[in-house]
Amino acid sequence: MSWTKKHLLDIESLTAEEITTVLDTARSFKAVGERAIKKVPALRGKTVVNLFVEPSTRTRISFELAAQRLSADIVNFSAEASSFKKGETLKDTALNLQALNADFIIIRHSASGAPHFLSRVLNAHVINAGDGAHEHPTQALLDAFTIRERKGKIAGLNVTILGDILYSRVARSDIWALTKLGAKVTLCGPATLVPKTFEKMGCRVTHDVDEAIRDADVINLLRIQHERQRATMFPSIGEYTQLFGLNKARFAKTKPDALIMHPGPINRGVEIDSEIADCGRSVILEQVTNGLAVRMAVLFLVNGGKTPVETA
């Protein structure tokens, strides 16, 4: 095993070996989820705080269940019902949670770098559940897990990420994870949302959707992030759907075994045709199942200390 990190802040700072360690560990936790008794005592007595300053349903519930299945106690914290409203800073809120002996802080925040900041001021383990447009590491890990499980490998695969890349933390984390594991990543979408500067991350950028999906083994669709966008990025949702949406005609030209992925929430009829979202090649719900296993693995791994394991 090769995991000695105290926090999971981003994918950029992980090695391919560390990513593989998470995926291998997650495989065993997925099996736990299929048992009659889905709970193991690995984090018994630990306290996990879901500090979600930006709203989220699926990631928060996924982390909540992951902590519960590891026998930890979990507290949910949402910005709407908190002292943030009364002007408390993030640091003070986090220190208050630590004063209650929280062992893990899982943070979702609209500001990039918020988890890194917390990791410097807290003793607790910090896990990034999405920070601004920066990274969403557990989403990338569950995407990699799903691809590896379905395709048997990641190295050498053509992965196309289609949609709003500029504002997407999922895209950034996916690019880091998949390129580190040897996939060839292509980004596609409107030129305003997929700038050429992304090529510096080691991937290809194109604005021709038919070319981008033709040779893809995996097509990962991203939602248009209305909440982060200025109105001028593209003319209209209708035009986006027409030019970049995965419709039946485009789907027919993809490889017959190409996987369709989406981090959710999906906007049916916008970035993806409703029937395609439900077809046999869509692994959107598997991603949700795998997300739970991956988050259990992450909690399990960061909980570990620094000294090697003594067996027997």
């Binding site: 995991w3 291998d24 560990t25 065993s28 009659a36 005592p41 399990f300 570990g304 200390g305 027997a312």
Partner: protein, 178 residues
């Protein structure tokens, strides 16, 4: 390898497993109730070998499972997270006599974790413990029912089991200074 001593060679390992299999057969008259569960890494291969010998003695197949104990360890926040191996229990443990199989019995903490992990799959009628090597230094009140060899050791020594199933050239149990 500095100061490495071979404690058991291939013949001795085979002989010890054959004896343990006969002891298991002698202790458990209702052979249909017995299932073996190996603890990775090492115990899983030993369990498969024992099951083969036992099925020869009893003239019927003996169920074998693999049980990973890492999620039930009591030192998870003190050491690097252990490698989690797959668990496969392809039979109902309720009412069975489960023989846990491990390569080396040391502190007893792995055995404790294994008994906890097994409970997640049901309630066995009995749990017995078979080990190839008992090296002493128990930290818990745990004792093996079937032992291949007792080896008095110092705490700074390490015992390793090499098996052809895991890619070794020959079966061996080795003792060396850390």
């Amino acid at each position: 390898m500095p100061d490495a001593t071979v404690i058991l060679d291939a013949t001795a390992i085979q002989r010890a497993l054959t004896r343990i299999a006969h002891e298991i057969a002698e202790r458990n008259e209702r052979s249909a109730d017995v299932a073996l569960v190996g603890i990775p890494v090492g115990g899983d291969h030993l369990a498969a070998r024992l099951a083969k010998i036992l099925s020869g003695i009893w003239n019927h197949p003996v169920p074998v499972g693999i049980l990973d104990t890492s999620m039930h360890r009591d030192d998870l926040d003190q050491r690097i997270a252990p490698t989690v191996h797959p668990t496969e229990i392809p039979f109902d443990v309720n009412g069975k006599t489960i023989v846990l199989v491990d390569d080396v019995l040391f502190s007893g903490r792995t055995t404790r974790a294994a008994m906890d992990a097994l409970n997640d799959f049901g309630r066995p009628k009995k749990i017995q413990l078979a080990v190839l090597v008992d090296r002493g230094h128990r930290e818990l009140p745990i004792k093996a029912d079937f032992i291949g060899k007792n080896v008095p050791t110092a705490l700074d020594e390490k015992i390793s089991l090499l098996l052809t199933e895991s890619g070794a050239a020959a079966d061996q149990v080795i003792l060396k200074k850390k």
